[in-house]
Amino acid sequence: MTHLLVVPFERPYLTRALVELLLLGGLAAVVGVFVLLRRLAFLTDALTHTVFPGVVVGFLIGGQSGIFPGALVVACVAAGLFTLLAATRRVAEDSALAILLTGFFAIGVVLVSRRSSYTADLTAFLFGRVLTVRTSDIVATAVVAGIVLAILAALRKELLLVAFDPESARAAGYRVAALDLALNLAIALVVVAAVRAVGTVLVIALIVVPAAAARLLSDRIIVITVVAAALGMASGWLGLLVSYQVSVDHGIRLATGATVVLVLVAAYLLALAVSLVRSVRLRRRHTASADEATATVAPPPVAEIGVGPR
């Protein structure tokens, strides 16, 4: 069994894919914790869609190596634009944002459709090709990871305050829009870094799902962050392994990026089941103790339970 888990990675292209997925899985999950806290899942989704035309234009101008800069420019512009939108209106309920993101997405599709290799290119941009990742892509991802983690580490206090109580943050003199911009740029950078490997559509899962699953298992942000990162990395590894083994052993081709996402979703469902079982048990224990004791018994604080399996 251990043989099965390790041997595939003796092939260099699989090793590169593994390193890239581990980096992305961990990075996206950590950013995802802030996305979860600030409730930015919708905005992150919009960002991934708007990056798409940037990817296409970059590719049309500079080929494979044009993708990263193209995506980077559009992502930064989009992050600024969305921050501005969010500062002036209620973005979560805003149809303007929906129009904007589908419009951008359509521009990307129209541009790609003019090429002869339309289907193959579209698939690559939307869903990524982790098995063709080059060493330079890994380096780019590592640099992005360094920048993003530095931003988040430096601003974690302030980002926490803004996520929890933006009004009080404003009252204390913080520039909430500037902090939101920093977070949106961090998200945009992660999306850009993930384009080659998992594509613009699936990256949203890498960001949102690990943090959501970890949130089900803990009430403490530090624990949530560690669990989410571990979950993101483990899912990258497991997804790659499963897609490889199935194609080698059974001749069934599974898209690696999508397999990673499915593993993540399975992990989320598992976490959901664990949290449900736990809350039922908690309630039963609580009613039992309330029966025997006459005084009011406070329910055991959830924070003390710690992290469940995985």
């Binding site: 806290l37 430096a154 601003l155 206090k157 302030e158 926490l160 305050l161 996520a163 929890f164 109580d165 009004e167 009080s168 404003r170 009252a171 204390a172 003199g173 949130r215 803990s218 009430d219 403490r220 942000i221 949530i224 009011t296 329910p299 604080p301 959830v302 924070a303 003390e304």
Partner: protein, 383 residues
């Protein structure tokens, strides 16, 4: 407000609120309500200066030492129960009552300030020297505040000296929250001026504390009580740096001041509404503000928490912090505040409660929502 806690408590605010004939009945109602409450905090960890054994009535902390004598009879009355037990104290009900309180002997040391009403002739000049040389924490001089172009609040005058408490009173939409935001520099002042600790509002923010309504915050947010209180120190800690031992000590002290030290490790959302409000006050206290602004802190707050909030506020004012509270609770304003500012789009009065919480002024402020109660009071139905 200063006297309450240092007196050692034991007093009951009710004797200030009610005529002697009514006292026993109402007190009985309060005590039995206290006994029924399931929210009683563990007796092992009372906040400093709190009275564990006395019936909980929010205003107890604010009374003069004379009131101690009443505690015995109160306890006795409390055990009687009886048909009145189901009644709730006036302060806690939806409709709030402003009685014609025994105003003359309330707060004998508080100098009766001027009453500024809406009439321009009586509007006080902001240049008027502060009473007894106490520096002003907040001065409003004909301030008009606007979102965009339409004024939300016009021509407000008033002054809050250090260590004093002012209640902002008015119906929903009257502009109470807008005024608080203007003092924080978050809403522009389009004419007149708002001066906070001698500076423009936006420049004084670091020394101004703000306590939002607890129920506006996400109860699912994964943050511990201690972490929330520590947020009050973030401005002092500065960018990038981690909270140090001094910050943790200040946060722990602030949490103890609202009587919730034993809940430090619990998730914020697991606390009751009143307890969350106390945590938010602790967060503001941890920042050591010179001016504290509270937006409806007593809405939906149980009596234990109201008591704890008032005790903590009394301690703050005795240390020189000026406090501005927006509230619907006229009785509370009467007992806990030195001055009252009556607002409804513009200012109707500013001055000591005895002079401002009068049937005429309240009727003017609340319009149709005010109902007169005989010769002694007004009921203001919440719109």
């Amino acid at each position: 407000m200063k006297r309450g806690v240092s007196s050692g408590g034991g007093g009951l605010g009710a004797d200030r609120l009610l005529s002697p004939n009514d006292r026993a009945h109402t007190v009985a109602a309060m005590s039995s309500e206290a006994a029924m409450s399931s929210d009683a905090r563990p007796a092992s960890n009372p906040p400093p200066g709190s009275r564990v054994a006395t019936p909980r009535f929010g205003l107890a902390a604010l009374t003069e030492p004379v009131a101690v004598a009443a505690a015995g009879s109160v306890a006795a009355a409390g055990s009687m129960g009886g048909p009145v037990a189901a009644a709730r104290p006036a302060v806690a009900t939806e409709a709030v009552v402003a009685d014609d309180f025994s105003a003359p002997h309330r707060r004998p040391t508080a100098p009766p300030g001027p009453v500024w009403t809406a009439q321009p002739a009586e509007a006080a000049s902001p240049a008027e020297p502060a009473a007894a040389g106490v520096p002003d924490a907040l001065v409003l001089a004909d301030a008009t505040v606007a979102y965009g172009r339409t004024p939300a609040l016009e021509r407000v005058n008033g002054r809050v000296p250090a260590g004093r408490t002012v209640a902002l009173i008015g119906p929903n939409g009257a502009g109470k929250s807008t005024l608080i935001k203007a003092v924080l520099g978050l809403v522009p002042v389009i004419s007149g001026s708002v001066t906070v600790l001698g500076q423009a509002p936006a420049r004084a923010r670091r020394e101004v504390g703000y306590v939002p309504q607890a129920d506006t915050l996400d109860a699912d947010f994964p943050v511990a009580v201690a972490q929330v209180v520590l947020m009050g120190r973030y401005r002092r800690i500065g960018w990038i740096r981690r909270p140090g031992a001094v910050d943790r000590a200040a946060a722990a002290e602030a949490l103890a001041a609202v009587g919730l030290a034993h809940r430090a490790a619990d998730r914020f959302g697991t606390l009751s509404g009143g307890q969350r409000q106390r945590v938010l006050l602790a967060r503001a206290i941890a920042a050591r503000p010179r001016l504290l602004l509270l937006d409806e802190p007593f809405n939906g707050v149980d009596a234990v928490s109201q008591d704890a909030l008032l005790a903590a506020l009394a301690r703050l004012t005795s240390a020189g912090t000026a406090v501005v509270i927006s509230t619907h609770d006229l009785a509370l304003a009467h007992l806990a505040c030195d001055d009252v500012c009556l607002l409804n789009r513009h200012q109707f009065a500013f001055g000591p409660p005895a002079a401002t919480l009068t049937p005429d002024l309240l009727r003017a402020t609340y319009g149709g929502a005010a109902v007169e109660l005989g010769a002694h009071g007004v009921i203001v139905a919440r719109p």
